[in-house]
């Protein structure tokens, strides 16, 4: 039986549907894309007032299933029921009217519109003349933010917000639909611990109101902290659903990847050489001041701090994206003038940026083209011609090493799962064969198995004498991988911690001052 959204809304309002054990359920769902079966006879059942985590490797089909529930993709087969009524979700609007809202893995806000405009888009309060009532809209936003304890100005432009704050806006927007089901696709991949705690408070509050929350994450600790139940997917197949109190982290990993992962942070002590990169009194007016540090060959320097502390800005400045207003950068003891990324690459630096969509992926281009663009500056070309064969072979090898899941390298990067896009971007920079590697949130959106592999890569590069600067909001990653940790707070360096003395508490003390 298929009911119109209006009927459904009425039924929902009445509140009582006998026998509705599950809030939302999907069964026998199948979805194929050209060359890939993303979902194969999958089921998913969400109970009222619970947080249900979805786990699985990159490309397992989690986002695809949620996009089906949010009306973005149409399934090839399967049945979706909301409060025991079969429903059809032909569009995102349909899903919203059925009480399903989704926060996407990639941010989807309009940068040139204000926070309030973004939240109430297509639902703007109107005045008597039918024009948008900005006053009312900003008040509504302020109310919403007060309820969620978010300290943002409704009138600021989204484009000027940090990634983390944009994520908070997305969350507020999804909550504002007052839906019964809230889907969150890796909401914390751009957040630091403080904000994650904040988000969890919001989630617990929503849960106590009877809302069902679907929570996709690659972070195991979050699962135990917030989820009541979890379902695991592997290669488009449904593996099982369990209560999160019943299992250990190793159980889950085994379900996810079908094998054991022995060591999470394969950090090895490698010989540490001479100072490779030295930064002195680096300042970018209004953003950060007097940042000084050095990284030795073979050393991994972790950069910790809260969002907005200026970690990413320092990285961008070193790489010439936003040249410094004062201060010096030296490589091998020689002062260098890095006024553009071109210059930085010439000095054999590589920089994986934080925002995959804005500064990373070339969405309309294929995987091969995405991987090769940074390396073409000085290699793989002869008289301006690209040495396609050699380059394709090396890209192929790299994508195999990073385990990029794709039918072939001529797939548009847009069609890859989030984690696989990230792997392609890592591959882009590893191909340049850097001496100084700056990584900003390198494992964002990457599954446990691949994460360990990427960490192993980084360790291996360090062994070969590469100097690594790694920014990460994930404390275990920073602590697990770094030889030293530099902590920043509001644009200033507040301290350095050696590997032995770096603990979560010490880092947080310095980060919060």
């Amino acid at each position: 039986m298929v009911l119109s959204p209006q009927t459904m809304a009425a039924v929902r309002q009445s509140g009582a549907i006998p026998g509705a054990e599950y809030l939302l359920s999907a069964e026998g769902v199948r979805k194929a894309f050209p060359g890939v079966v993303a979902l194969d006879d999958v089921q998913f059942k969400l109970k009222r007032g619970t947080v249900h985590a979805l786990m699985g490797e990159n490309g397992a089909g989690k986002s695809t299933l949620m996009k089906i529930l949010a009306g973005i993709y149409q399934p090839d087969a399967g049945e979706i029921r909301m409060k025991n009524q079969a429903i059809r979700l032909a569009s995102p609007l349909d899903a919203l009217e059925n009480g399903i809202a989704m926060i996407h893995q990639e941010l989807n806000l309009m940068p040139f519109m204000t926070v309030a405009e973004n939240i109430w888009i297509r639902r703007e309060p109107k005045n008597r003349l039918g024009f948008v009532d900005h006053g009312a809209m900003n008040r509504q936003t302020a109310d919403l933010f007060r309820r969620l304890n978010i300290g943002l100005d409704p009138e600021s432009l989204v484009g000027e917000l940090s990634v983390a704050n944009r994520q908070m806006v997305e969350i507020a927007k999804a909550v504002s639909y007052e839906s019964d089901v809230l889907i969150m696709d890796e909401p914390t991949s751009a957040l630091t611990e403080t904000e994650v705690e904040h988000l969890f408070t919001i989630i617990r509050d929503l849960r106590s109101q009877g809302i069902g929350i679907v929570y996709i994450t690659h972070k195991m600790n979050e699962l135990f902290e917030i989820a009541d139940e979890f379902s695991v997917f592997r290669d488009g197949k449904y593996i099982g659903t369990h209560a999160s109190t019943d299992v250990t982290r190793d159980d889950i990993i085994r379900m996810m990847v079908g094998r054991e992962i022995t060591q999470m942070f394969p950090k090895e002590e490698v010989p540490i050489g001479d100072v490779l990169l030295k930064v002195e009194n680096l300042t970018l007016d209004g953003v950060f001041r007097d940042v000084s540090f050095e990284v030795r060959s073979g050393e991994i320097l972790g950069l910790a701090g809260l969002v907005g502390s200026g970690r990413s800005n320092v990285a961008e400045t070193i790489f010439g994206v936003t040249p410094a207003t004062s201060g010096t950068i030296s490589i091998d003891g020689r002062q260098v003038d890095i006024s553009s990324p071109t210059e930085a690459i010439r000095n054999r630096m590589a920089f994986l940026t934080e925002d995959r969509k804005d500064t990373g992926c070339f969405l309309p281009l294929d995987i091969l083209e995405n991987m090769q663009l940074a390396v073409l500056q000085d290699r793989y070309t002869r008289a301006g011609f690209v040495q396609e064969g050699k380059l394709a072979r090396d890209c192929q090898e790299m994508s195999a090493k990073l385990r990029v899941k794709t039918p072939n390298l001529y797939e548009r990067i847009e069609n890859l799962s989030g984690g696989n896009q990230q792997k392609v971007l890592i591959g882009r920079w590893l191909l340049t064969n850097p001496r100084i590697l700056i990584l900003d949130e390198p494992t964002r959106g990457i599954d446990v198995g691949a994460k360990a592999e990427i960490h192993r890569f980084v360790t291996e590069l360090a062994r070969q004498g590469v100097a690594v600067v790694m920014i990460s909001s994930e404390m275990p990653e920073v602590l697990g991988m770094s030889d030293r940790v530099m902590v920043m707070h509001e644009g200033r360096v507040t301290g350095f911690l050696d590997r032995a003395e770096a603990t979560q508490v010490r880092v947080m003390e310095l980060a919060a001052q």
Binding site: D235, V321, P364, E397, P407
Partner: protein, 353 residues
Amino acid sequence: MSSDIANPTNTTAGSVAAGAGTTRPEAIRRRRMPPEFNIFLVLIGIALIYELLGWTMIGQSFLGNQQRLTIMILQVSVIGIIAVGVTQVIITGGIDLSSGSVVGLTAMIAASFAQASTWSRALYPALTDLPAIVPIAIGLGVGLAAGIVNGVLIAYTRIPPFIATLGMMVSARGLSKWYTKGQPVSGLTEQFNFIGSGIWPVIVFLAVAVIFHVALRYTRYGKFTYAIGANMQAARVSGINVERHLVKVYAIAGLLAGLAGIVTAARAQTAQAGMGISYELDAIAAAVIGGTSLTGGVGRITGTVIGTIILGIMTSGFTFLRVDAYYQEIVKGVIIVAAVVADVYRQKKRAKR
């Protein structure tokens, strides 16, 4: 990448679902169907419709008339030369509205250095009977200069391409009128006229198309052009000197518009300030019909060549069927919009599926 990091020690126990986590080695060779294929089918479809209408309405073959097809392709060659440049500009996410005016300007200036001494009203009586290479070089120089001005304005002052090239469109047209105070430039040398004679314009068009097809597909220049259109920020972070590259692309577009101006003047054996009016729109139409996306990052020269021929065959077919010129323009407009709608639809479908 050094090879010892190629195989990070594998701690995996048990088997990973084979082929799921990794790409298969042979997969790299498989290419998708070229996107031009659909456009090519459209071209064939249009030709067949004319053939059918020809037999039923006036009892003649459309495709059977070799001469008509030759004239058709001669007529669109100049548009095609411009469109090759415009395609590259659109791939970077920009637009070039100035090419038609640059055609007019280069036609005038080149012609003024190509006049024969036998012509009594030569603009520079002291500079007549020059070898054809002189007006050609000057013409190409003028086009190149116009393109560089466009490029520098767009890349370094961040004026939107639409505005910068709109300015050039108006100014270049003004310049070409001012140059002779509106008088045409005639009496050109045999040698100069030769470039516009016979099948030469078509050869120039095809040569230009082949060169830039190769450049876009196989050179660093091409890869960077697509990258800038796909994501300018990411291109910058990947070490591409975006500003310098944009100047190159607009300079090439200007150069090709200049070349088109030379061919136009040689073909007409005279130059007038009004030459090339609205050519920029036909060139943009050819690119868009050929699958170049106005949002940037997508487009190919082969598509543009087919798009150019579609434009030509439409006009030629209408003339063949003796359809009123007014209708021709109306239908042309509809087809251009249809091409853009098809592009938008394709993108939507890709996003949704």
